[in-house]
């Protein structure tokens, strides 16, 4: 298992039916991502970046091809098993934050643990630590509408990491933020990567994408360019 990559896609197809026509959102995609990598996914709008991320996050299933996560074929798992994998191995960060408006910052951060049935004492400990780590301690009791965009995204990142996932999937995490705040959010994500979490970020912004160790360029559902193409294929 030494050489087993974290993520291995082979021959992945994702076809959407739009009326009579078919849209190939992903076409014959082969991709390997090792544990601990920092990958930027770039490309024009509609090129399939979000579709790829949803697939990697087990929110969606490919029409063809296989997806192996940590050596296990996850495309054939039951919905319950997939939910478990999402809960334990994957953290999502969205462009529009996706915080639950009626819950406080602390409650939003605790949500994945609540869903997983983590004991309250353990929850409190981890939430307190996360609030400290992301400089949100004095915002713990605030609802999302009382927080700035940057604070909201920090809550979302805290929530994505609270279950200590193996991989963080971020779909344009800075898309709704100004430049300075976006930089700060990227720094937080990069810090996580520094601690060994695999980071996959979709971005429009070439400058932000350039900060990653590896860039993937997508067009029309195909992988056109991989900055680590030199990596040996098996």
């Amino acid at each position: 298992m030494m050489n087993e990559p974290l993520i291995a896609l082979s021959g992945v197809e994702r076809v959407f039916q739009l009326g009579d026509s078919e849209v190939h959102a992903l076409h014959q995609l082969d991709l390997r991502i090792d544990s601990g990598e920092y990958v930027a996914v770039m490309g024009p709008s509609g090129s399939g970046k979000s579709t790829l991320l949803n697939l990697l996050g087990l929110l969606d299933r490919p029409n063809a091809g296989t997806y192996r996560l940590e050596g296990r074929d996850v495309t054939t798992l039951s919905p319950e098993e997939q939910a478990r994998v999402r809960s334990e191995r994957i953290g999502f960060v969205f462009q529009s934050f996706h915080l639950v408006p009626r819950l406080t910052a602390a409650e939003n951060i605790a949500l994945p643990m609540v869903l997983a049935g983590t004991a309250p004492s353990e929850r409190r400990k981890r939430v307190d630590q996360a609030l400290k780590d992301y400089g949100l301690t004095n915002r713990a009791g605030h609802r999302p509408n009382e927080l700035s965009g940057g604070q909201r995204q920090r809550v979302a990142i805290a929530r994505a990491t609270i279950m200590q996932p193996a991989v963080i999937l971020a779909d344009e995490p800075t898309g709704n933020l100004d430049r300075a705040t976006g930089e700060e959010v990227m720094r937080l994500l990069e810090e996580l990567n520094g601690k060994g979490v695999t980071l996959i970020v979709v971005t429009h912004d070439a400058a932000l994408g350039a900060r990653a160790q590896r860039q993937l360029r997508m067009e029309d559902g195909e992988l056109r360019q991989d900055s680590r193409q030199c990596a040996p294929r098996t």
Partner: protein, 402 residues
């Protein structure tokens, strides 16, 4: 998800949309409250009737002239079409029965009573001394009709409380002479007021010896004979003995009807019990309506919270978790509505009892429990469809919804 977390999550979701929550709780509570109030009314009617009948007297057997139609074709009747009279001697003969303690004959008619220029129409009941004991009636003043020969009564009368008020006002009535029909009577007693009742109300009654009443109405037959059995156990024996004695006296012809108070009571009890059940059923329809409302409101809620459901799935929630969360919410709202309705219903029943003190409008235990149970079951049942819809939502599409 842990149970306390589920409940907190459902509570927060409900609190997050107060209008929806209030609407649901209200609909459910109206359903439950109507079950409670309507069954309280129905069961109250049953209790009221049963109480009133019980107050007629205890261990009562009642003899009526004529054969009741339920007896079927009677060849004796076919020959002599006019029923034989039920006479004072018949009544007196019943005293021979071993199971009989007391007998009171009753002849009833209307007449006029006048004193000092005041005149009014009254109901006159002719009876004997034991009537007051058989019916367990209280006397306010004086004494009741004297014992003695049933066929030769003294010209004495006992009047009801209202008659006394109307004819004498604040003046003493005892010992006064009044004219009833074309005879003069001395007032020897006044009945205590019994208020409104189902049985024969004595407030507007004038009681005179049975022989004088029969003379007044120019009739030989009695309206009823009230028979008191020795005990509750001997009611049936008293009934058969009375039937046998009268049959023998009427040349082997069974031309009277003997009923027991128990049988009458049981019939009313059953009838009004069924009525209460029917009324409860009608009220339960409003619960079904509330259930449909629960379903629709929860469906709207699922649509409104699509994006949240997508997020929960992205965060690792299984379909089962989401289904449970929505079901918990529906159940909690239904329960809150049911409890509120239960309290409202009891308050409503209490108000009815305040307004009509004689009416025992207590909801029966079964109705309250059935109302609560039905509310919960409908709430959960109608919550299943929305919960399943939520659980089946596609996470990617849901997340894309705003």
């Amino acid at each position: 998800m842990r149970a306390p977390d589920l409940i907190r999550f459902a509570r927060d979701a409900a609190a997050g949309n107060p209008l929806r929550t209030v609407l649901l709780v209200l609909a459910m509570s109206i359903g439950v409250a109507s079950v409670v109030v309507l069954t309280a009314l129905g069961d109250g009617a049953r209790r009221y009737v049963v109480n009133e009948f019980s107050s007629l007297g205890t261990n009562l057997v009642i003899v009526l002239p004529g054969k009741s139609q339920t007896g079927g074709f009677n060849p004796g009747n076919a020959i002599t079409n006019t029923p034989r009279d039920l006479t004072i001697d018949d009544a007196q003969a019943l005293l021979r029965a071993s199971a009989v303690r007391r007998v009171a004959p009753l002849a009833v008619g209307t007449s006029e009573i006048s004193v000092g220029g005041k005149l009014r129409e009254v109901m006159v009941a002719g009876t004997t001394a034991q009537y007051i004991d058989v019916r367990r009636l209280p006397l306010a003043q004086g004494r009741f009709l004297a014992e003695g020969d049933w066929r030769r009564g003294a010209s004495e009368a006992v009047i009801g409380a209202k008659i006394r008020d109307e004819l004498f006002g604040a003046n003493p009535a005892l010992g006064q002479l009044v004219r009833i029909g074309d005879r003069r009577f001395r007032i020897i007693g006044i009945m205590a007021s019994t208020g409104q009742g189902l049985g024969m109300n004595t407030d507007e009654l004038v009681l005179v010896p049975v022989s004088l009443a029969q003379a007044m109405f120019n009739s030989n037959t009695l309206f009823r004979v009230l028979v008191e059995a020795n005990s509750r156990e001997s009611i049936e024996l008293a009934k058969s003995q009375a039937t046998a004695i009268l049959k023998a006296r009427h040349e082997g012809e069974e031309d009277v009807t003997v009923i027991t108070q128990d049988a009458v009571l049981a019939t009313f009890d059953r009838l009004l019990g069924t009525l209460t059940l029917a009324v409860a059923g009608i009220a339960a329809i409003s619960l079904a309506v509330a259930g449909i409302l629960v379903m629709n409101v929860m469906l709207v809620s699922v649509t409104q919270r699509t994006s949240e459901i997508g997020l929960l799935k992205a965060l690792g929630a299984t379909g089962g978790t989401i289904r449970t969360a929505f079901l918990t919410e529906a159940a909690m709202l239904s329960l809150a509505g049911a409890v509120l309705g239960f309290l409202l219903g009891h308050a409503g029943a209490a108000i009815i009892r305040q307004l009509y003190p004689v009416y025992p409008a207590y909801p029966p235990d079964w109705a309250a429990i059935a109302g609560l149970g039905t509310a919960l079951v409908t709430g959960i049942l109608f919550g299943v469809l929305p919960a399943r819809r939520a659980a089946r939502l596609d996470p990617v599409e849901s997340l894309a919804k705003r």
